[in-house]
């Protein structure tokens, strides 16, 4: 099967001339459907830059990126917007939400952008809010939430469009460990139940250990790209009691049902 994301000789240079800074250098990687990938490394090593490039939020200076086998550089802006809106979900390091709006309004923003009908929009957003266990806060203004709750709102917003790939930048970075665990469970539930590909930037080694794969970056270069198997898998299962694999017929059917009527 074709990798969902494939990067070849990717590099990113910030600035020009004397102040030019090589943030990413010759990145080669393939990410398969349903994989959970941790991007780890020290602060300033280029993790966020890599994630932004993979998520098509930023354009690499050189090299090639393919999404589902299609060259990213050839994508029309219309298609790019559809990708961002319908196939990707983002959880940003800082929460990035409209603090004057309610949880519900924040969560349904991607659906509003996609032009989903009002009724569907609200139903799907409430479902997503329920998934992150914030149903009782749906009508509360975002600014009145705690850090952990805000992060969960961001996850609800990231999954409300039923994305194929979820990008999360330090999703537990600002949280205490108990709240962090809740978030981690949420992410891996999505990975296991719905087959969502996870790309998580973190410097939390425990979180990285739960992933299928760990990519370590130092000074913009991939220094380690390893699969983590049997050793840490049980730990993931310890957190996540549900072990249903992602691509069973039931899972696919559920996904289809959820998709119906979503698009304009």
């Amino acid at each position: 099967m074709e990798p969902v994301i494939e990067a070849k000789h990717l590099s990113k240079i910030y600035g020009k001339g004397a102040t030019a800074f090589l943030a990413l250098s010759d990145i080669n990687l393939k990410i398969n459907h349903g994989e959970s990938v941790a991007i780890v490394g020290k602060s300033g090593s280029g993790k966020s830059t890599l994630m932004h490039c993979l998520a098509l939020l930023d354009t690499p200076t050189s090299g090639e990126l393919k999404i589902d086998g299609e060259k990213a550089s050839k994508l029309k802006s219309r298609k790019l917007n559809r990708l961002r809106n319908r196939r990707f979900g983002f959880v940003f390091q800082q929460f990035f939400m409209n603090s004057n709006e309610t949880v519900l309004e924040n969560v349904l923003l991607p659906l509003k952008i996609s032009g989903t009908r009002r009724k569907h929009r609200k139903r799907l957003a409430l479902e997503a809010i329920e998934t992150v266990e914030l149903a009782d806060k749906a009508r509360v203004k975002s600014k009145n939430l705690s850090g952990g709750q805000k992060q969960r709102v961001c996850i609800a917003r990231a999954i409300v469009n039923n994305p194929k790939i979820l990008f999360a930048d330090e999703p537990t970075g600002n949280l205490d460990s108990a709240t962090g665990e809740k978030i981690i469970k949420l992410l891996f539930d999505l990975n296991h139940d719905k087959g969502v590909t996870l790309i998580i930037v973190t410097h939390d080694e425990d979180l990285a250990a739960l992933c299928d794969r760990r990519i370590r970056i130092t000074d913009g270069k991939i220094v380690v790209d390893e699969s983590i198997k049997h050793v840490t898998r049980p730990a993931a299962r310890a957190i996540n009691s549900k072990t249903k694999p992602a691509n069973t017929p039931e899972a696919k059917k559920a996904k289809k049902n959820q998709k119906k009527g979503v698009r304009k």
């Binding site: 930023d58 802006s77 961002r84 809106n85 990035f96 923003l109 952008i113 304009k264």
Partner: protein
């Protein structure tokens, strides 16, 4: 994103910073208010002039004066040329229309009649219905189809040899008639001072002759037609002759002006012929044209003020939206990261600009219309300067001008909004999200 959602979010953003939006709208309001008010006054005045011109008629009426009179006026103002002396046409003769001139003018094709204009004046007017005498200013009612706006009676017959006059409603009341129609067909008596005779009598009252004329109609109040008392040619000439009794004819009959009737379809040819003979013609349209020009100049001046206010308001819109774009950098970045297209971000800010324009101009016209309505009412109240003109609305709004103004202001707002809107649309999502 659906259009209704874009509309909604633009509206929400507009009211997010209420004071700033309010001030921007206020600036647009001022400009729109000025322009629409001036336009409404202009429409009102022009409509009124049209209405009056319609009621006056007088397409065939013409007034002529020697072109030399205008030249002399110019030379007095220091702009004319100094010409050589000619015994046959000296400076003092140049501004006079002689009997010889008149017969030449009468021969011009299209000229139906032409009479020297004598400035007649009376000392008083009275009737048998009152024992009082009133000062009076009379004016010649020209022929050529000129009509007075009558509240009772008939038009004057200019060609009649009977002495016919029109009086105003105010005079009718003073002269002892309860209603205007009571005055119709009654006789009025003029007192006319005979200047030469006054040298020979001891009592000034003894040199005042009287002349009876028939009141054929009563004039309704009107701005364009001269109020007071209007007399036909026969009455005017009779009064003049009475007053100047004893004065040598060649002195008595000197006049700088003649009035007459023409075939208005030949106006241009007549003008050309008159010019050759050294005369300048003025029609009712010319006179109305001067009034119109006066109002047009006022309109243009105030419209320019309004336009300047709107330009300032447009800069206000740019400023407001630039601030808004700056404040919402992160929000825009997030929306772009979540797949909102450039076009829709541009649209959202453009709509915000258009809404500013809409509210400013809509409020401006609404307030102008309310104030215009109140002003019209005040002017029409007793004591108001339009008390006697119930049909004249000084301020008159047409749906077309209101719609045009609102649309134009919205368009200006849109143009002003394109710069900030482009800036917002071009924002890079990552840069925008990093923005602190």
């Amino acid at each position: 994103m659906k259009f209704t959602d874009i509309l909604k979010s633009a509206n929400v953003n507009l009211f997010r910073n209420k004071m700033r939006s309010f001030l921007t709208i206020l600036a647009i309001f001022v400009g729109s208010f000025a322009i629409i008010s001036v336009n409404a006054i202009h429409t009102g005045v022009n409509d009124f002039i049209d209405q009056q011109v319609e009621s006056i008629g007088g397409d065939n009426y013409i007034e002529i004066a020697p072109t030399a009179a205008y030249d002399q006026l110019a030379s007095m103002m220091g702009t004319g040329e100094i010409t050589k002396y000619n015994a046959n046409k000296s400076s003092s003769d140049a501004t006079i229309i002689s009997e010889e001139d008149l017969s030449k003018i009468r021969k011009i094709d299209g000229v139906i009649s032409m009479n020297p204009y004598y400035q007649a004046s009376v000392d008083y007017i009275t009737t048998s219905h009152t024992d009082k005498k009133y000062n009076a200013v009379i004016s010649l009612m020209p022929g050529g189809g000129v009509k007075a706006d009558l509240s009772a009676g008939n038009q004057i017959n200019s060609n009649s040899s009977d002495y016919e006059i029109l009086i105003s409603e105010d005079y009718a009341k003073k002269l002892g008639f309860d209603t205007p129609s009571d005055a119709v067909n009654q006789t009025a008596t003029f007192g006319v001072k005979q200047s030469i005779k006054c040298y020979t009598v001891a009592n000034p009252d003894d040199c005042i002759a009287t002349l009876d004329a028939k009141i054929v109609g009563v004039q309704a109040p009107s701005i364009l037609s001269i109020g007071g008392i209007r007399v036909n040619q026969a009455a005017n000439d009779a009064i003049y002759n009475l007053a100047s009794e004893g004065i040598a004819p060649d002195i008595k009959n000197r006049t700088p002006m003649a009035t007459g009737e023409i075939d208005s379809t030949k106006l241009n040819e007549i003008r050309a012929d008159l010019k050759k003979l050294g005369f300048t013609a003025i029609t009712i349209d010319d006179e109305v044209g001067m009034i119109r020009t006066f109002f047009n100049v006022i309109l243009i001046v105030f419209t320019i003020f309004g336009a300047i206010a709107l330009i300032a308001a447009a800069i206000g819109i740019i400023n407001t939206l630039l601030m808004s774009v700056q404040e919402r950098t992160r929000e825009i970045g997030l929306e772009k990261a979540l797949g909102l297209s450039k076009g829709k971000i541009f649209l959202s800010f453009s709509i915000e600009a258009i809404m500013l324009g809409f509210w400013g101009s809509a409020l401006g016209t609404a307030v102008a219309m309310i104030l215009g309505f109140i002003a019209n009412n005040i002017f029409h109240q007793s004591g108001g300067f339009l008390e006697k003109f119930p049909t004249f609305n000084l301020v008159k709004f047409t749906p077309e001008s209101v719609a045009a103004l609102i649309l134009i202001v919205m368009f200006i707002a849109f143009i002003a909004g394109t710069m900030p809107a482009r800036k917002a649309a071009k924002k890079d999502p990552i840069e925008a999200l990093r923005y602190e």
